[in-house]
Symmetry: D2
Amino acid sequence: MHDGDGGDVPVSVTEPLGEPGDDGAAERSGPTEKCGIVGVSLADRGAARPLYYSLYALQHRGQDSAGIVTHDGFQQHSHVGMGLVGDAFDGTTLGDLNGTTGIGHVRYATAGGVNERCAQPFSVSFKSGALGLAHNGNLVNADEIRDELASAGHAFTTNGDTEVIAHDLAGNLLDADLIRAVKRTMDRLHGSYSLTVMHDDTVLGVRDPLGNRPLCIGELDDGYVLASESAAIDTLDGRLVRDVEPGELVVLEPDGSGYDTYQLFEADHSAHCFFEHVYFARPDSVIDDTLVYEARRSLGRKLWEESGIDTDAVMPVPDSGRAFASGYADAAAEDGADVEFAEGLMKNRYVGRTFIMPTQDERERAVRLKLNPIKSTVEGKTVTLIDDSIVRGTTSTQLVDLLRDAGAEEVHVRIGAPAIVAPCFMGIDMATREELIAADRSVEEVREVIGADSLSYISTDAVADALSESRADLCFGCVTGEYPYDIDGETSDRDVERPPVERSGAHADD
Amino acid sequence: MHDGDGGDVPVSVTEPLGEPGDDGAAERSGPTEKCGIVGVSLADRGAARPLYYSLYALQHRGQDSAGIVTHDGFQQHSHVGMGLVGDAFDGTTLGDLNGTTGIGHVRYATAGGVNERCAQPFSVSFKSGALGLAHNGNLVNADEIRDELASAGHAFTTNGDTEVIAHDLAGNLLDADLIRAVKRTMDRLHGSYSLTVMHDDTVLGVRDPLGNRPLCIGELDDGYVLASESAAIDTLDGRLVRDVEPGELVVLEPDGSGYDTYQLFEADHSAHCFFEHVYFARPDSVIDDTLVYEARRSLGRKLWEESGIDTDAVMPVPDSGRAFASGYADAAAEDGADVEFAEGLMKNRYVGRTFIMPTQDERERAVRLKLNPIKSTVEGKTVTLIDDSIVRGTTSTQLVDLLRDAGAEEVHVRIGAPAIVAPCFMGIDMATREELIAADRSVEEVREVIGADSLSYISTDAVADALSESRADLCFGCVTGEYPYDIDGETSDRDVERPPVERSGAHADD
Amino acid sequence: MHDGDGGDVPVSVTEPLGEPGDDGAAERSGPTEKCGIVGVSLADRGAARPLYYSLYALQHRGQDSAGIVTHDGFQQHSHVGMGLVGDAFDGTTLGDLNGTTGIGHVRYATAGGVNERCAQPFSVSFKSGALGLAHNGNLVNADEIRDELASAGHAFTTNGDTEVIAHDLAGNLLDADLIRAVKRTMDRLHGSYSLTVMHDDTVLGVRDPLGNRPLCIGELDDGYVLASESAAIDTLDGRLVRDVEPGELVVLEPDGSGYDTYQLFEADHSAHCFFEHVYFARPDSVIDDTLVYEARRSLGRKLWEESGIDTDAVMPVPDSGRAFASGYADAAAEDGADVEFAEGLMKNRYVGRTFIMPTQDERERAVRLKLNPIKSTVEGKTVTLIDDSIVRGTTSTQLVDLLRDAGAEEVHVRIGAPAIVAPCFMGIDMATREELIAADRSVEEVREVIGADSLSYISTDAVADALSESRADLCFGCVTGEYPYDIDGETSDRDVERPPVERSGAHADD
Amino acid sequence: MHDGDGGDVPVSVTEPLGEPGDDGAAERSGPTEKCGIVGVSLADRGAARPLYYSLYALQHRGQDSAGIVTHDGFQQHSHVGMGLVGDAFDGTTLGDLNGTTGIGHVRYATAGGVNERCAQPFSVSFKSGALGLAHNGNLVNADEIRDELASAGHAFTTNGDTEVIAHDLAGNLLDADLIRAVKRTMDRLHGSYSLTVMHDDTVLGVRDPLGNRPLCIGELDDGYVLASESAAIDTLDGRLVRDVEPGELVVLEPDGSGYDTYQLFEADHSAHCFFEHVYFARPDSVIDDTLVYEARRSLGRKLWEESGIDTDAVMPVPDSGRAFASGYADAAAEDGADVEFAEGLMKNRYVGRTFIMPTQDERERAVRLKLNPIKSTVEGKTVTLIDDSIVRGTTSTQLVDLLRDAGAEEVHVRIGAPAIVAPCFMGIDMATREELIAADRSVEEVREVIGADSLSYISTDAVADALSESRADLCFGCVTGEYPYDIDGETSDRDVERPPVERSGAHADD
């Protein structure tokens, strides 16, 4: 479960952030954030409201700050605010964002780091105009680039990746055209990134050569959109054109009439993040050609195939396990199993941030404030509880407990993701290794901790199948501890100093 | 759908409220509110936190104010605050509510009437001690009683029903014991009411003689609870004992050791509100012996039986139609129909109150911010869309539209409640007659307005069946325009000047 | 000094409030508040804005809540809000207060008692219409009347004096005309009170028979005003007509065309509060025929006459001691003393509520944040520091210290009020006896505590002179511990079971 | 008058700000702000709280944002917040600012420009460490330097002067020691500036070669302070050492043990801002060797000498005219004039930001909400009204009106500053030329507009005398329209392309 209800929401890496200017050691210092980005170019309608609505659609990707940068042909306008999109903007701030092109950003902050200075998009003015950047991902070599830039006299106001990219790109734009400048900057960036960028009134989007973070192109009646997820395009009543390819640069015409694309880098394999499909993305988004909802249903079916168990009831953890459980139950029914799909846990949607914490001996009640078992669907029954993932295991433990208290005879747990054993260094604030329940426990040991009668995770092969991707094209870093980029102190599963890339010819659409 | 997302939320009667002191005409003047109430008596644990948690569990019954009154044996403590439970209280205000017994209240306000003075519980001090009252329901003769009390010199600070009951009860307590005083007050009250009341440190609960609004008794390890819905008892880790009977008075021992009950009134028939089961109550609550979730599944099955149609997909309106759709699909499968249960509409849970309204020509986008169709589960398919009810029809119209835009070949609508044709005068702020889409339209005409290929509502008989009640024991006022109480200018479906009651002997439990 | 800077602001009596319904003992239970009241009747202009502006002018009399009640001929409108007038109202709430007549109130709350329910004006509806009451003062026998009313079946929602008056008056209005009803209620009230009252659209004002709290009448171009202080009349561009007499009732014509007055009670002596002139009221108000500013200057002159000392500099505590010091310096100059009037302490007007308290060893800095000595006007000099009063002595101690640190050779303190040795039971939240520095200390002992070289208070005779009143017509309760009303456990300085009153004939103005 | 009461507060230049990157034309583009700055270096006490208190003492210099940057020896900590100092910080944010050295800033924003990104201190990290800058003043050639830096690849996140200085200084620090780097940066800066700067844990302060903005050095028991005004030093219980000299650099030892100073530039004449003394600074501050309070008293005396008139009363505009009026009255008395010093206007200190604006025909009342005449001190009298300055003339006009309405026979106006005829380009947001009442009016014409019987301003010579400065050492730009720096389109009163400077030897204190 991953709603805003204090469940297993992945939280920030707690290692102290390296000092800006630090050498070496803290290679992965800086905020490692999970974000949503968007870019819009329209014929002659203001970009601010479409950006606002599309950020609303991406709200699940970041709830700590929201920002929009637009350009009206003469000058750049920018507003970033703390909190949800609805709190960050009001009629006045939105109304001041003039211009038909713009980019937007929603962000989760790392612990202690909710700060307007770090909020995005990051905007700078420089010799050749104004730049705005919105970033989703995490650079591996940000500090290295920062050091080089600093040696050349650059001064930094934040310690985030985004400012590093902005400075580098601004520098390259002094003596190169936009395409070359982006190419040169990408040459230096190592790590995961999807970016929407504004140079004056031109909006562009790029995806790192391994395509770790999602980005897609959409078409409106009067323009084009770039967005982390296709649901944002739907919100604008647009049509998904396709995913941006790994290593591809897409440049929107400022008048909304079309876009050009440049395949700047090409790698043997991709490293798409499987966790987007399992956990993070909206069910109604299409990512890398797969509808997330269908992927989850399909993972549910495979879960049945791999470790199905014939209990009285199949029960989703609401709302995160629902699609998985529905696929699982369908597959079971097709196999002739007499398993009933039952909603046995009812969620209280009103448990909010301002909740006064219960005292130690009221803890159990706290769980039941959020999720209440429906006795009649549980009592005296054997139950399979289905969820998308187990991160720290706290919620799973509580739920197994709840169901037993409600009279379940057996509680089996089936999980739509493989076991998470390592942190993500690619842009998701998962948890520290110490906090991950499966980091140093066997499946049997985890089962024991959460108190289930049986526990099965899905296999990585099944995940690859469900996503119709080759296993080699997916990033399973948090599952295997081997990452597609070489990270200090971690193992890489690829032969990557730099991804083997070669520039293909640029070609224009429309 | 009835989440806080601006959908078909029933809103307040908009006729101007009569002046306090008005004669005759505005018989139903005053706030007609839908509320949640609770009462707690514990051995030696503070009542404030359990009340707080149980109000959290009843949050869906009122989100405009929340209040708690406790008594510590010497004096009464009270706090009411605006907004959600989590906003209305903080650690300090909760900590100040001393005592092991207390009552609580959550409330929806009527338009323009969000005001701390009207918030409940209503508390007064008088000659024989301190009174606290929490009320769910709506009196038909409040103005009449108010006038009589006013003639005797009483002055009122609000124009709500609750103050009227409090004054009347306080008056009766001057020269009668608690049971007789409550009996005398109930003798005068005409309309629907469930009440939790505190007289000094004694908590009691009563339900009107027709049992229109719900109320139930729960047992904790160290005390007893009264609550609008059993889910509140679950939250406290308690066990549902049973519903309070229509016309019954339940008095909790101040030390939490038991309760006495008095069947003060008895009627030939009840008038339970069917809409609680269909729409308002939590799925995990048991009301009048029926689990709400099962009632909805059962209504879904009957909907198939009465008007099932064999389409490619059965699709719930999330989250309100889900249980109905699941029952419907199961019944269809059992009948051998090849109907797939599909989640084709994805809900954005982050659309909140601070949303900047779209301009006229962006309206369509606004719907899609809240609900986005999943094209692949809709495109080229015939679809049955299932919801719990249609009030004004706005949302239904938008959803049918959405599904057609997403490529649905046919959209059939099936509704788990009968057509709503009249306002509720029993305590639910439904809508004015003018706003009800079905008030003066045939089913065929409603179908045309919402643009569906077919439309069927469930029958009242099926509702009675699903709730295992005789049709005569249910209130179908909003469906038939005939009410169980005689309301000025409205038809009654019963022979009631006063409900035919007779006092049965009092008997004590425990 | 008595600005909002955390100085010697008199704070609430801290004895636990008696329970409503308590007998005997806690005679002075309940909030003892200091308030500002106003009433307005206009020809055909809305009363809300004039009330709002006049409350602004009375803001110094109450900063915890503000409220306005108006009547539009058909119904009463009311809004009360927490905090300053500017926070309690906005354009909408003010715009909703229709009608050409109305009353208003600003209030200080007692500790822990900031609560919208207790905020005023208090409004009730009853058999014969709607009542609104705004009260400044403190009843001595509120609990007694409350008990009698409770015996007759009345129930109370607050434990304040105002509700008691409202219920009593509403009862009397059932069988008497307005004048007689007010007379009967005043017959029962014992203690200090100035009231503005609305009965439907009629505004009236009364002052207790001893005239303890101020109230005056003002004339506008299109109506009449009643207000605690004449500065509120100035704000409305009106002309002060005169003070309301002790025991007088003034009834404003609802059409603003004039007013009637009725001398309902007459006492041998008044008991005007001298502290209003010395401390509380605005310098630009005229109270009981004396301009406050002139009274203070005159007190300053008398202070010189009684205990003048020839130092290098005369220095006011800003802003409270300024008028006193100016009178003192003038008198000194006339006597040929070579005393320079010097502003030696500079006030920081920005020290507000949200200030983060300094740690223990930073305390001294905290004082200097608020008041900074100007060394050049202090160093090496003998200084007379002049203030209006000493309540707890904390500020005086700090200031003497500050001046010595700044190099003053001698610091003499002269105070424009007599020593405060007892609490006020007449409506000012002074301090508890324990907190009053002079309660059990001689002048010499106080001098020692505050560290001054010499200390003199003004005499009560000088106060009477300065106010052009007979000593017997003033209340010196807090100075002598003898009160004009008989208060349980306190001495009275008058022969009062009830003030000896006799009804004079009623006579109408205009 | 210049309190936060909506009076004649000088507001921002309204010419559209030039785009960052603009060439030429908008030489004075960018925010022209008035600020307060401070820097602290302590032995082993945290710098945050002393900075917080000293910003409180400088609150009158900027109320739109406040910020503090500290350094703990390892890393820099920073917090900036919107609004007053008390709102910008809470216990947590203050507690996180570790380290014994730091700088702080309070700021007025220009219209539309309240924005956290622009709030100061501005902090950057760069190759050679971390920099923090707090700036008071206004550069004349900021755009020019910005362009040069941009050509070298620098990118800017704000369009303020401060970022320009930070980038330039950071660049110089790459290949020069601190002293040389500051010298090189000052070489490029043209305009008015006082700065406190942190390079890692070293705090330094500089003042521009003409010393336009104030800055002084203070000594604490355990360290040293730099502050805009000496009142901030008093607040910390410290001792004013002396003003920082024009063109001087002061470097505080990080351990609080002393400071070094370097006279980097020397000019023939200073250009101290006379308006600081007349209007802006606290009365208890010593600026450029003169106590502000004494300067104002002295200006009052000279005002009598230059244009004294023998009226019944001398009346200050509270609080701004009080010191002037007191000097004026003293001088008059010495001359044997029979003039009484009278406070005839009473100020309402509660008129705040949330005030609901009166309608057009209530305007007059609005003035009287703020200032109410005391009739008895005005009626039938001839009055001299004394204020510090006239900017737009609105308030003066209203006050003359008020006094006449209150019955004044004659109203003569005397002003403690010369007539303001031109904008300030040196860091004070005065008003646009169009808004200045004296910009194109003779004294007689101004008198006519404000409706006074006579009007006199003080002469510039008298100002110089009162400040004990040569006229040539003061900046009278706003009075003469001739500025000490050459500003595009304006006349300069000096022979300055660059101020004629020469480096003197560096010498260390302590």
